[in-house]
Symmetry: C3
Subunit: 278 residues, 3 copies
Amino acid sequence: MPNHATKTALIAAIDTMRNTRPLVQCLTNNVVTQVTANVLLAAGATPAMCDTPEESAAFASVASGVLINPGTPSAEQYAGMRQAILGANSVGTPWVLDPVAAGALPHRTAFSREILAYRPAAIRGNASEIAALAGVGAGGRGVDATDEVEATIPAARDLAAQTGGVVAISGAQDVIVSTRRVTRLVSGHPMMQLVIGTGCSLGALVAAYLGAHRTAVASRDAFDLHDAVVAAHAHSGAAGMVAAQRASAPGSFAVAWIDALYQLTSERIAELVTIEEE
Amino acid sequence: MPNHATKTALIAAIDTMRNTRPLVQCLTNNVVTQVTANVLLAAGATPAMCDTPEESAAFASVASGVLINPGTPSAEQYAGMRQAILGANSVGTPWVLDPVAAGALPHRTAFSREILAYRPAAIRGNASEIAALAGVGAGGRGVDATDEVEATIPAARDLAAQTGGVVAISGAQDVIVSTRRVTRLVSGHPMMQLVIGTGCSLGALVAAYLGAHRTAVASRDAFDLHDAVVAAHAHSGAAGMVAAQRASAPGSFAVAWIDALYQLTSERIAELVTIEEE
Amino acid sequence: MPNHATKTALIAAIDTMRNTRPLVQCLTNNVVTQVTANVLLAAGATPAMCDTPEESAAFASVASGVLINPGTPSAEQYAGMRQAILGANSVGTPWVLDPVAAGALPHRTAFSREILAYRPAAIRGNASEIAALAGVGAGGRGVDATDEVEATIPAARDLAAQTGGVVAISGAQDVIVSTRRVTRLVSGHPMMQLVIGTGCSLGALVAAYLGAHRTAVASRDAFDLHDAVVAAHAHSGAAGMVAAQRASAPGSFAVAWIDALYQLTSERIAELVTIEEE
């Protein structure tokens, strides 16, 4: 696919997401709930952090997309996550797995592997998490990518084949993998790693973009699920590039990043990022 | 009541709240704990997020006011909420119900209706939540007001009659309803909807203002509980108006809003907002 | 010890912490998780909020330092805290106790006293919390220091003798006490009390600095555990002093404080603070 077509799809995905304001149900860790909600609002989506076993399934059946991020998983939230996945799958709501610290902690690694069978529409993690989820690599010490992104592409291909979904390896360069495409995206800024929630909220943005694709039947020819995952990464990363022009320390950078998620037009995002199709 | 009297009461309420620094116990959802605490501190109150079943009742008996916001209600937090209400009522601490997503989710709707019998001193929600709590209206899809504020006034009157408390319908225009008064307040800015916690923290501010009324026996003639609820909305809304003059995107808007909650004098708040008594 | 030596140790501690990027496991209250993570990242450490009973012990055995802050303690988090302490002690990971609201709430006071037997490497609290933990003083109403810092030094000495660790009394002037030294530190700004998490994140910074000491064997002669606790307070307090020069309201102050935690060199921190050795 030529890059021109990819950028056209990118712009279509961003415009569609903002026009449809997808309702994103986030079952996520208690460190990033606030920033994740603010990211979704600034980007153009609607957050809802409904995560109890009693309510998760029903909510997932009306949400546009669902995020499963077991970063601080209580027993009750694990139960809520299982319910949300069942509710999502019962009606075809796309759900995203962010396997935080997979490989580093056996309990949550086992959970993330177990729910793979329920076919997440997308998986987003750093290289060590993706490798661990696929059953290869030594894993990291928690949240830092220790394996190289490129070396993880075979593991991502395996996960894509196993689930039928899109797999994103986040890093200095993001690689988005599905059964028929590999896309490399250069965007973002190193200071994003000094702001908590830039990675976790990206998982929520992926759910928003997948939800936009599902909701906007009329726009479905303009971009596919792979493009939707690329768009989430490009939106977040381009905002990081703009924030780095405005701020040189993480407190003000975080504010500028949220501002840019809101202010950047789809055309400007497409100009800022570099996309390469394999 | 003439508007002149209302504004005098507004100024008295704000000054009293800041002079008494009410201790507000928040049993609230895990998305907004941080921003709620920062809002209370900036406005002039003292936050405490004590919400376990073992501690909630004792704390509520010494707090100035209590907020019950079942936005992400774990089983343990539900138990803590019931304890807090009992502790509050045992000594007359005013408590506020913010029925997040009532109508959209049956489990929490049932909880919010059940605790109505314990007579919250105030209820704060958007139009669809207030309608659902009163048993009318179809409810929204979670957090957005889908019914019109004006159409919800009869439901608010019902709730006020049932509980003896003040009922606030938040929206582009807020309407505060009690058995003998209806007050319309114009303040705020649409960008507040793009910052998570502006609504939830308003429930905490209502608890702060009610607590200030209870604590400041000497000032009680200067404003009543209805005025206290109006003051909470005016304080938050006026800060939003100032923030919109300083910022045009949600990241910097959120910072400017917290700043303005701290900086605005009571007189300036009274100048900024428009109040109409029915 | 002359102040010259103290400042040399301070600079060594800060440089070592930033060079080693200690991994700090925080079992903390759900109000401050986000700001605590951002403080650690800006200061130069790596946060991880792993707190479940299943994962806490294993994680504590690989972490550089552990924070135990029972500010909103669910039953499951209490269990996670006990596991984390066992895991930390099994390999010698230093852990920090922040006894939030000890004295004000019996349940958590009992918990904090119970875990004293497991010998925290440091305890950090305000005067009323330290007094209550030592079994003296009337305690405060939750989060404000009501006893004087100076009057609490004997209680801190008792706790230091009992645990073998360092005890920090935070206030307008901080006092750091161990069995052989008493250090008074003047830094910070009153506006820090209007930003939630400035105190709780200081407990996390103490864990980071203790972890840096343990990890950096080659630097261990340059500073000891007492110096490490002083350095955590100096780093946070100096950043508050800079923030107060840049901002005059709590929203923008919070942003400037995070920025300064990142930007300040160790030499500049040593210039800004006043340290007095007894």
